[in-house]
């Protein structure tokens, strides 16, 4: 996405909402969905539109786990680390992903394809351990299934991937 595109997309998102501070979170969520992160320009433009300090928006963006200020990968892998998944070896999933992708939870691969993160509970404890890739659930996962799953996502070219709402 070129810079001009990004700026106009941000403007579009922001102007969807009335210029009132209470819409800050909604606008930031939309940006997160669209770009997989919140660009600094986005915070800047939002603070101008809502007339509230950029520092306050930055505080909100760093507070909520669902919002990210760093660019995320094309595919987001969430490893459930709730109690049930933790007991059934979610750490092993993270270790396997580290072996395949070379990144720890919270990081993004250098080619921008994958981001790995821990989430606290996906509410599917009966299916533990659970991993979610771009909204698709992989249940009762074994470590040896992971390379195959990654393969299927690596095959998709970045152009084919639109946002996963």
């Amino acid at each position: 996405m070129t810079e001009v595109d990004q700026t106009s997309t941000i403007r579009e998102i922001i102007e969807n909402y009335p210029a009132d501070r209470r819409y800050a979170l909604a606008a930031m969520q939309d940006m997160q969905r669209r770009f997989n992160y919140i660009p600094e320009d986005g915070l800047e433009m939002l603070s101008e539109r809502l007339g509230c300090p950029k520092a306050q928006l930055y505080a909100m963006a760093t507070f909520y786990k669902a919002l990210s200020l760093k660019p995320k990968g094309q595919h987001i892998i969430k490893i459930c680390n709730g109690t049930a998944c933790h007991l059934r070896g979610s750490v092993n999933l993270a270790t396997e992903l580290k072996r395949d992708l070379g990144i720890d939870p919270g990081e993004t691969t250098a080619d921008g394809m994958f981001s790995v993160e821990y989430v606290n509970c996906l509410g599917s404890c009966a299916l533990s351990p659970v991993m979610v890739v771009d909204g698709t659930y992989y249940n009762k996962l074994r470590v040896d299934q992971i390379p195959g799953i990654l393969e299927s996502y690596s095959a998709t070219k970045p152009e084919d991937v639109t946002n996963h709402d």
Binding site: A55, Q56, Y58, T62
Partner: protein, 253 residues
């Protein structure tokens, strides 16, 4: 005129208005309640340091409240030095002392309120002075600059500018540093520049007497907020200049 109530604080009868904060009533009556995160410069307080706890008694029921933000609504008794309060305040001070071991003020208060002995099992945060009370953020917001905020959460929470970069909203007025109860906000100053939050500001001096007047940016910002022309002299010199001018004008009237 709102309703007046008579309450007792540590056995002393005090008259106050309904809804007045207990801390203000106590202060007016010469009763000391320790505080950290409170500044009289603001109308609202956050009571997050928890040092101002007192015990309240109403019809035989007792509970612990924070004096800073407790509005007196009915006639009841308060105790600032009860056994329970002494004990709880010691715990609060011990926790604060381990959160901000570098702060002298916290250290002294912890010693005074008994937050030193018996808390050896707590682990200190290395090199920390900040207790995250948010007074600096409130000061910055109330001035209309809004350059700093609390970022992240949990154990990683801290006060900073967006992205940790020099903020374009900051005017280098030092309000945050001055209001900080633990002296946690650092800045450097020499003859010509002041550096705070990673940004260097040019210092401003009175053209007439040479007294320091903050930074160029803070003078300009204050003038803009007040809707007046930027002054190059300090308040005193400006008053004197105005008086001189009046003298000249009305000399023969």
């Amino acid at each position: 005129m709102s309703e007046t109530l008579t309450i007792t604080i540590d056995g002393k009868e005090c008259v106050c208005e309904k809804g007045e904060f207990l801390y203000d009533v106590a202060k007016r009556n010469g009763i000391f309640i320790p505080v950290l995160c409170r500044s009289d410069a603001f109308a609202d307080h956050r009571a997050c340091c928890r040092v101002c706890i007192v015990e309240m008694e109403d019809r035989g029921w007792r509970k612990v409240v924070t004096a800073c933000v407790y509005p007196v609504e009915k006639e009841c008794a308060f105790y600032t030095q009860s056994e329970k309060i002494k004990e709880e305040r010691a715990v609060v001070m011990a926790l604060l002392a381990h959160r901000a071991p570098e702060s002298d003020r916290i250290g002294q208060m912890a010693k005074f309120f008994g937050g030193e002995e018996g808390f050896e099992r707590l682990v200190s945060v290395d090199g920390e002075k900040c207790i995250l009370c948010g007074l600096c953020v409130q000061a910055c917001d109330s001035l209309g600059t809004g350059a700093i905020s609390t970022v992240n959460r949990g154990t990683e929470k801290e006060v900073d500018t967006p992205y940790g970069n020099p903020s374009s909203s900051c005017v280098g007025c030092l309000s945050c540093a001055n209001v900080c109860p633990t002296g946690a906000i650092e800045y450097q100053e020499d003859e010509t520049t002041r550096t705070i939050w990673n940004r260097a500001f040019e210092r401003a001096y009175c053209e007439s007497c040479g007294k320091p007047m903050g930074t160029k940016e803070s003078v300009a910002f204050a003038a803009k907020q007040a809707g007046v022309e930027e002054s190059r002299m300090c308040d005193e010199c400006r008053k004197r200049a105005l008086a001189d001018e009046m003298m000249k004008t009305y000399r023969y009237v």
